[in-house]
């Protein structure tokens, strides 16, 4: 985080962070190719022991929350709105984590694929829908002062994708 300049620390410390990051990268075998057995073994050990992720939870700042809304269009022109559905609160918490992942994905094709999968799960509940538009956005919270003035959270549009799914189960087509 320090090396990437995500913190409020001075630039001089950023360079120190870069050096430390370089040493760690080397120690963890991350300089090797992905197919290198040593790197794969070290990475597997990190995952198996639960130490691969670091411990900067909610740090240095709290990330935004995100919202996904599906706009379902039917053959008669009717439109309905739907949210991704899970049954339990625990899964809801995980869904929120998934949205965080979608928001930080830099590879547009992967983001589209993730949203397509979510749209497909919504389409399975509404198979008569001819088109599903997945609208992904960010929830901006008011500051304490703004909240005292009675301001509510606002929604900032980020991405929208249109998907149409063939009636044949399992076949997905997007445009």
């Amino acid at each position: 985080m320090v090396a990437n300049g995500y913190t409020s620390l001075p630039v001089a410390l950023q360079k120190l962070g870069e050096k430390a990051d370089g040493v760690l990268t080397m120690a963890l075998g991350e300089r090797f190719a992905n197919s290198n057995p040593l790197r794969q073994t070290l990475t597997t050990y990190e995952h198996a022991s639960g130490i691969e992720g670091g411990y900067g939870f909610f740090a240095p700042a709290i990330p935004n929350s995100y919202k996904l809304v599906f706009q379902l269009t039917y053959s008669d022109g009717g439109v309905e709105y739907e949210l991704p559905r899970v049954r339990s609160e625990a899964a809801g918490l995980r869904l929120s984590g998934l949205f965080d992942q979608i928001a930080i994905v830099r590879y547009a094709a992967l983001r589209e694929l993730m949203l397509k999968m979510l749209a497909y799960s919504a389409w399975q509940l509404h198979p008569e829908a001819t088109k599903i538009r997945a609208v992904f956005g960010e929830i901006r919270m008011p500051s304490v002062v703004e909240a005292k003035r009675g301001e509510k959270e606002t929604y900032r549009f980020m991405y929208a994708y249109d998907f149409s799914f063939a009636t044949e189960a399992g076949e997905m087509q997007s445009r």
């Binding site: 198996a48 992720g53 240095p60 709290i62 899970v86 995980r94 979510l118 909240a147 399992g170 997905m172």
Partner: protein, 327 residues
């Protein structure tokens, strides 16, 4: 030089009772049981492949392959099941049931070693195959189960001990594993606190405000959080200080209990105000196992000779020693 080595030995291999391990085993058992129960209604939906889950397992496991193709995953279990003619749905439910039962077996202390390894492996598979939907709690549960799987088992208050009358574990080995956990917990808090303190939001209360107001953590009513807004900067700074200073104040006997109490209080507050109950539980379990009031209680065998014997065995052949403990 000898004194330094002796001190290092004494630090790494203190004599310890197995009470901390009982806390870890029982705590993790409750964690596994509650975790599986909380996801019961969505379990298959989270892990299905071929576009039939909320986010297809194929995608998560393909992303996992970029890291390493040898990380355990649910896909392997589904493939094994398919070989025996079992459907994906059946295998996924079997994994859920197996994880749930290993939780109960851990709680009872029956077949401790096999159960601990199975719970760790199944949990790891589930966490990795749902990698896009995991959070800190999953990592800490994996971490706890990993320590439990390699720790000297069985311990007291387990059916294993009662049925097979197994003898006491070496107190220095118990101490060594406890020490590793203690150091790891210190590293976790130190870096967590350090990372927080580098962000301005933890000093001016913004981060606490956002953590209490952003969905899905907005458990408290908005008006209540607004009322307590003036104390949020102080609370944010207190969280940073508590975590950064954890490795300093958790070791001395004089400050250990109060620091442990405050840290556990912080996790209870996180559970109540943000709804992160399972995250709070696993952190409290790790803290109590590492630094609980029983942490310093020693068994009879505390001679320096025994310390040296065990530590020398480790220094000469750590791999064989660890395999010996596990088997």
């Amino acid at each position: 030089m000898t004194t330094a080595r002796q001190r290092l030995n004494e630090f790494l291999f203190p004599a310890s009772s197995d009470t901390w391990l009982i806390v870890l085993r029982v705590g993790l058992a409750i964690q596994v049981i509650l975790c599986t129960l909380s996801l019961r209604s969505d379990w298959n939906y989270l892990f299905r492949a071929n576009g039939n889950g909320i986010i297809s397992r194929d995608l998560t496991e393909a992303i996992l392959n970029v890291d390493s193709p040898i990380i355990p995953r649910v896909g392997w279990l589904v493939a094994i099941g398919a070989y025996f003619g079992l459907s994906e749905e059946t295998v996924l439910w079997t994994v859920w049931i197996a994880l749930f039962f290993t939780g109960w077996l851990l709680l009872l202390g029956l077949f401790c070693r096999i159960t601990a390894v199975t719970a760790w492996l199944l949990h790891l598979c589930a966490v990795k195959s749902a990698g896009l939907m995991t959070y800190g709690m999953d990592n800490f549960t994996t971490l706890g189960l990993f320590y439990l799987a390699i720790a000297p088992l069985p311990n007291h208050y387990s059916l294993d001990r009662w049925i097979w009358k197994s003898k006491n574990q070496d107190p220095h080995l118990l101490g060594f594993f406890r020490r590793v956990l203690q150091v790891h917990v210190c590293i976790i808090y130190f870096f967590s606190g350090l990372a927080k303190s580098t962000g301005a939001g933890w000093w001016n209360g913004t981060s606490l405000w956002r953590s209490l107001r952003l969905p899905p953590y907005d458990v408290l009513p908005s008006q209540l959080v607004v009322t307590f807004a003036p104390v949020l900067p102080a609370m944010g700074i207190a969280v940073c200080l508590l975590e950064i200073c954890y490795p300093i104040f958790i070791w001395p006997n004089k400050t250990r209990f109060i620091w442990l109490l405050v840290i556990c209080g912080m996790h209870i507050a996180i559970a109540v105000t943000m709804g992160l109950y399972l995250f709070a539980l696993i952190m409290i379990v790790l803290n109590l196992a590492a630094f609980g009031p029983w942490a310093g209680r020693k068994q009879r065998d505390t001679t320096n000779l025994a310390v040296q014997k065990v530590s020398l065995r480790f220094v000469r052949n750590p791999v064989r020693s660890l395999i010996g403990i596990i088997s």
